[in-house]
Symmetry: C2
Subunit: 358 residues, 2 copies
């Protein structure tokens, strides 16, 4: 390995000077600077990041903690995060939690030992032990996909997304709606809110509880089946599911019940994974601006690392958009986009320093 000293020796300067031209901080005479640069290229010198880390600057390593890359939604995020990070000279250390708090803790521990400069995390819950560790180790952290009261976070406005879906289904003429997910979901709130605003009593929108953890856990189908077996289920033409997996389970199950889609039943998913594109019928789904999210997340981290930014946690709340496909259209037609405020495409992204939703 060729070091800073080798360069120094060849260029007849001190290691300190080499370091200086490398970091471009202090002034170095034009003459020496050229000599140093000359030898750097000549010997193909590459700074040893490990040494740089040790002296306490930075590791150029970012941790990414996610429940499961097998989930295509997370896979997309991870990919974009890696690419975005790379542009800033950072590499990504990937960790899985399987949505288990103890594993999350272990993984976070390992990241801390590795001196990562920052972490992007999709936590189990806002107060997960992993999050706590990160905070007490004072490692810049940004939470993605969820809001966090005391950390930087970037996510989509789930509440608004839910409202968009309600608006869409209502405009398709459906007045009997159902939600597949958890009662507390912000999507569900938005969904109900918008329904109410259009004269559909929120109390008449059942929430079919779906415990969705990972790709593996597809006991979803039995739940869905139970719903379609019920009187209520038989009469509901408008279904909104917390994500594409569940939506597809609904779609597939509905087919077993001879309910045609589109036609008898409309289903809308969330996340707009490519599953929505590939499946037949194709699935209407709420798209999150992933590229934007990844960009913002890394940007937030960079700011913290540069020591900029107040201590206030920054909440970046982006606007989702509904991508309409066959599963919710009354007639055959090409896919199109839709959003609450306008049928045209939203300038998908808006930052507020605070806000509700999620």
């Amino acid at each position: 390995m060729i070091t800073i000293k080798d360069i120094a020796r060849h260029a007849n300067v001190s290691p300190a000077t080499v370091s200086r031209v490398l970091n471009g901080k202090a002034w170095v005479s034009e003459e020496k600077r050229r000599a140093v640069n000359e030898w750097i290229t000549r010997l193909g010198y590459k700074p040893n990041q490990v040494a740089q880390t040790l002296v306490g600057t930075r590791s150029f390593l970012l941790g990414v903690v996610i429940t499961d890359v097998s989930n295509p939604f997370f896979a997309d995020i991870v990919k974009l995060l890696q690419q975005e990070a790379f542009l800033s000279g950072y590499a990504i250390v990937l960790c899985h939690t399987n949505a288990a708090e103890d594993i999350e803790r272990q993984q976070v521990d390992s990241l801390i030992r590795r001196q990562v400069d920052g972490v992007v995390i999709v936590p189990c819950r806002a107060e997960s032990p992993g999050i706590r560790k990160l905070r007490q180790a004072e490692i810049p952290t940004v939470v993605v996909t969820q809001q966090h009261p005391e950390l930087d976070s970037v996510c989509v406005d789930h509440n608004a997304g839910g409202a968009m879906v309600a608006a869409h289904l209502l405009s398709a003429g459906h007045t009997r709606l159902a939600y597949f997910g958890k009662k507390q979901d912000a999507k569900f709130n938005g969904f109900r809110r918008e329904a109410a605003a259009n004269g559909v009593s929120p109390d008449r929108i059942p929430c079919v509880k779906v415990d969705y953890d990972s790709v593996e856990t597809i006991d979803v189908e039995s739940t869905v089946r139970r719903f379609f077996d019920s009187e209520e289920g038989r009469q509901t033409p408008g279904v909104f599911a917390l994500n594409d997996f569940v939506a597809l389970a609904a779609l597939n199950t509905a087919a077993e019940y001879r309910r045609r889609t589109p036609g008898d039943l409309s289903v809308v998913g969330f996340d707009n994974t490519y599953l929505a594109r590939i499946h037949r019928p194709s699935l209407t789904s709420v798209a999150q601006p992933l590229q934007e999210m990844a960009h913002r997340a890394i940007e937030l981290l960079r700011r913290r690392l540069a020591g900029q930014g107040d201590n206030e946690p920054n909440l970046t709340l982006l606007q989702p958009r509904v991508v309409v496909r066959r599963s919710s259209s009354r007639e055959a037609g090409t896919d199109s986009e839709y959003s609450l405020e306008d049928t045209a495409e939203l300038p998908n992204g808006a930052t507020r320093s605070t806000g509700e939703g999620n």
Copy 2:
């Protein structure tokens, strides 16, 4: 940060001794060892891996270079690799190449600068610049998903996989077959070989050229459409596709042509991603033993890192198996497994130090 010196001070020993009990190499008196361990837990000491790396031992970092995690097949591998690595105390630095050689090179460069102990790579081609760099930097490397003449590699026997598919389709009564992929694919060879062994002339099996790079590139459909438009395509009931994406494209396109599956047309994919499970009709696909592959890959790396193992490249060739689903069954039925040698499940994995296939 609490260091080795802190422990030393508290335990009334020298830093060297602390290091010794930590690494368990040299003898340390029972008394001091206990004292040190006591303080280690008491102060919650965690070794600084960066410092350890600098002194030249190891970084505990493994690079994973893959074309695209958005591909569920790769996502699964990455996940398993990470989990497997974690068990051995390693973390994973994830890199994307987008199947582009120059990006691969850049990513590999960054891994080398980071002093990763080893790399698991899905290379663009055997002689990609990334691979070359890795070799000249003498970083232990294992190639997964492909064979490599001069590096450790672990992959499935594609040739055998292709043969299994042929056997399966033939046993379903199809004698007119087609392959969607590239002529040189080992799968295709195996497919033809087995067909020939059963009296179906390989020359009568067309290879519909599909250029599949990533999830994004789904111009696949037009190619597929062109095939179904042809006389040849209209009469082919048995299709084998190089992966699940292409298989699904075939399935979906076939539906547009009113070709019923199962019934008029059978389609078999490769990789057995969850897409195969989720899609309707569900897709018969060749499964790769991913867990086993990840395990072997990490194991190979560990061996190299321990300085064990001859200099011979090790080829670990595992056996795939066919998971039969609706897309290739003549009647409704539950999913089942199938393999060339036996209808029962294969002891899925066999190592040879060399072998053809792929």
